[in-house]
Amino acid sequence: MSDTLTVTNPAAASAVAEAPRTFGIAAEFSSAADLYHAAEKCRDHGFRIWDVHTPFPIHGMDEAMGLGNSKVSLIALAAACTGTVLALMLEFIPSIWLYPLVVHGKPLDFFTVPAFFPVIFEFTVLCCAFGCVFGMLALNRLPRWNHPLFNWERFAKFSDDGFFLSIEADDPKFQETRTKEFLEGIGAENITLIYE
């Protein structure tokens, strides 16, 4: 936050307007286990807008970060129900109303529903899959082509074997120096200030 930025040099003061805003502080940990314990400490310290960045999902990290259940399942359920209803309409409106087609002398009414079931099932699965993926991307605010974290060269290691933790400046508890000290205290390495 800008209130923690103390500018002593008047020449630099004019540059403040153009100076990049602080995004937050990021740090590296040496292993999945270290990051896991660091996350527990971060959670207990009361940070809210922060995240860990790992090459693979770490088992139990949701609890270590104090995160609840993902909402993707609700979106997927809603999408699946929509798919069922759409498929019912897609099949019954033409088959019973628009274009009644007698095949094998079978009746035209609702009692032939088992024969309509495969399409209903497939369409439900299709809609559920779309809901699932687009719901996941929407909840994650992806695609997003750039992000302040990518400004930090070392961060590229997150997709290889790096374990990172980032605390954003928007967090109510964020204070540049104190947060830095906190991270040092929990064993972080390469603590770096990230600008937007």
């Binding site: 990290m61 495969p118 909840l139 695609p143």
Partner: protein
């Protein structure tokens, strides 16, 4: 399981008295590779200079694919009559090829979905390539019914959209179910595959040195930055996709089998078809996965990722499903006798089984297609039985040979089911033999070229092993992992997820403290 090693006496220097019951499984990634090694190995395939063997494999495959496309262009411009099918065999190689390829396309989703739900961690090294193979097989499959429509430009009539004639589809027809099943299967498989690719595309993006490459992979990776808040939704989405893909993959070949089973043609009209087709699809699909992975493993040096254990487990699945298929063959034959339906009996005994070497049992003339039936029997039922022996599961040449037999056998299975049943059915006056034309031959063999070209392109440009998933099953990925010889695990009372008292004791990879 014979391949589970129980380590009873670890070296004294590493022995922690608290770890009384130490159990390790054969590692999923051998030689104690670390995270960085996995990244280097898999990304290296995408980043390296195109190797010579790749061109040697790609060039003939592409030529063959060109032949396939040429054959289809000739067919579209001339008419579907250039294929050999004619009354009474109206479904022939085209539908055989369709069912053959769609069956192969079942292994990928089986590995990614069903083995994911059943927590088979070994799936992580092979699921990406198997899923890619699935997509390419479904692409090959989709060509045939589309072209069998005859007037390809009318194929959109398969899709229920309003048209000027106000004609709608018959939603109670298995052929329309097929359109929905295959369409959904392909779409969901693409989605599943792509979702799995996102974190690995991010890895390639982060390593890219070339600006164009970086741009393309960045576009595909959607800005992935591996945050746990993202992983949380991602894992849930992946779990749901696996959950819905499991009934989906079982439904697809079930519905394909309905194309036959709901008819009254002797040899098709059987209730055993859905489970029999699904088992056959898994059987053929696993054989094709091994056919592709064994050379890829050798040429790309993936021995530590796709280990002998993977081959061993997959051959066991081939043995199991092959035996289920064998049971279905015998049961069909038994039911033909037991039902006392003369048409059914004719279809099996007189059209398929009766061969020169069965004269001692059945004193009837040779069946017109006995060679196809017995090719199917020996390739699908007899050949995989060698996998009862550990030696045969470990010897990769034997595994590869048997997989080739299975590939051929599964094609013959579909040929036997489709062609022999309709060649000689109810009316002897309209019996006939089927012979393929040269267009049949190039459109079928060419599809292998198309399949292989797509697979080779995939190997070259996309990470063919799911890096993030493989890293996730390494011992060091466990947040409660403590490298031996370092700080003792005292005080860390979290469960490893493997049951009480079970701890990983695999030596530490270099990323340890």
């Amino acid at each position: 399981m014979a391949d589970t090693a129980i380590e009873t006496a670890p070296p004294a220097a590493q022995f922690d008295p608290e770890m009384v019951r130490q159990v390790t499984k054969l590692p999923l990634v051998t030689n104690n590779r670390d995270f960085h090694w996995v990244t280097e190995k898999v990304s290296g395939i995408v980043e390296m200079k195109t190797p010579g063997w790749w061109w040697i494999a790609f060039f003939p495959a592409a030529v063959l694919a060109g032949c396939c496309i040429g054959g289809f262009v000739y067919l579209i411009s001339t008419g579907v009559g250039v294929w050999g099918q004619n009354s009474p065999v109206m479904w022939a190689w085209d539908i055989t090829n369709f069912v053959f390829w769609i069956g192969i396309g079942h292994a990928g989703t089986l590995i990614s979905a069903i083995l994911f739900l059943t927590r088979q961690k070994w799936r992580t090294s092979i699921n990406r390539a198997a899923e890619a193979m699935t997509l390419f097989a479904v692409i090959c499959a989709g060509l045939y019914p589309g072209l069998h429509v005859g007037r390809l430009w009318m194929a959109w009539y398969l899709v229920p959209v309003g048209n000027a004639n106000a004609i709608w589809q018959n939603f109670r027809s298995p052929l329309l179910w097929d359109v929905f099943a295959v369409g959904t299967y392909f779409t969901v498989s693409v989605i599943f595959w792509y979702v799995g690719l996102i974190p690995d595309l991010a890895t390639i993006r982060d390593r890219a040195t070339n600006k164009v490459k970086k741009f393309i992979y960045a576009l595909l990776a959607l800005g992935w930055r591996g945050g746990n808040r993202h992983w949380r939704n991602y894992e849930k989405a992946y779990l749901i996709l696996a959950g819905i893909s499991t009934p989906l993959v079982l439904s697809v070949h079930t519905i394909v089998s309905f194309d036959f089973a709901t008819s009254i043609v002797p040899g098709w009209h059987t209730t055993i078809f859905p489970p029999y087709f699904v088992a056959g699809a898994i059987f053929g699909g696993f054989a094709m996965v091994l056919t592709l992975m064994l050379p890829a493993r050798h040429l790309l040096g993936l021995q530590d990722l796709v280990t002998k254990k993977h081959v061993d487990v997959m051959t066991k699945i081939i043995l199991l499903t092959g035996s289920i298929v064998g049971y279905a063959y015998i049961m069909e034959f038994f039911i033909a006798w037991y039902s006392q339906n003369p048409f059914e009996q004719w279809a099996f005994l007189r059209n398929r089984v009766s061969a020169p070497f069965t004269k001692w049992m059945f004193d009837v003339p040779n069946a017109p297609y006995w060679w196809a039936y017995w090719a199917m029997m020996s390739c699908n039922v007899i050949s995989p039985q060698v996998f009862w022996f550990r030696y045969c599961r470990q010897n990769l040449w034997i595994v590869f040979t048997i997989c080739m037999c299975v590939n051929a056998g599964m094609w013959f299975e579909r040929f036997v089911i489709i062609v022999t049943s309709i060649a000689n059915d109810f009316l002897p006056g309209s019996w006939g033999m089927y012979a393929p034309t040269w267009v049949d031959i190039i459109t079928f063999t060419g599809s292998f070229g198309l399949f292989l070209s797509l697979f080779l392109l995939f190997c070259r440009f996309l990470p063919m092993i799911a890096m993030s998933e493989v890293k996730g099953v390494l011992p060091a990925a466990d947040p409660h992992f403590h490298p031996p010889g370092h700080d003792a695990p005292g005080g860390d009372d979290h469960s490893t997820g493997l049951g009480a008292g079970v701890r990983m004791i695999t030596p530490a990879p270099s990323t340890g403290h």
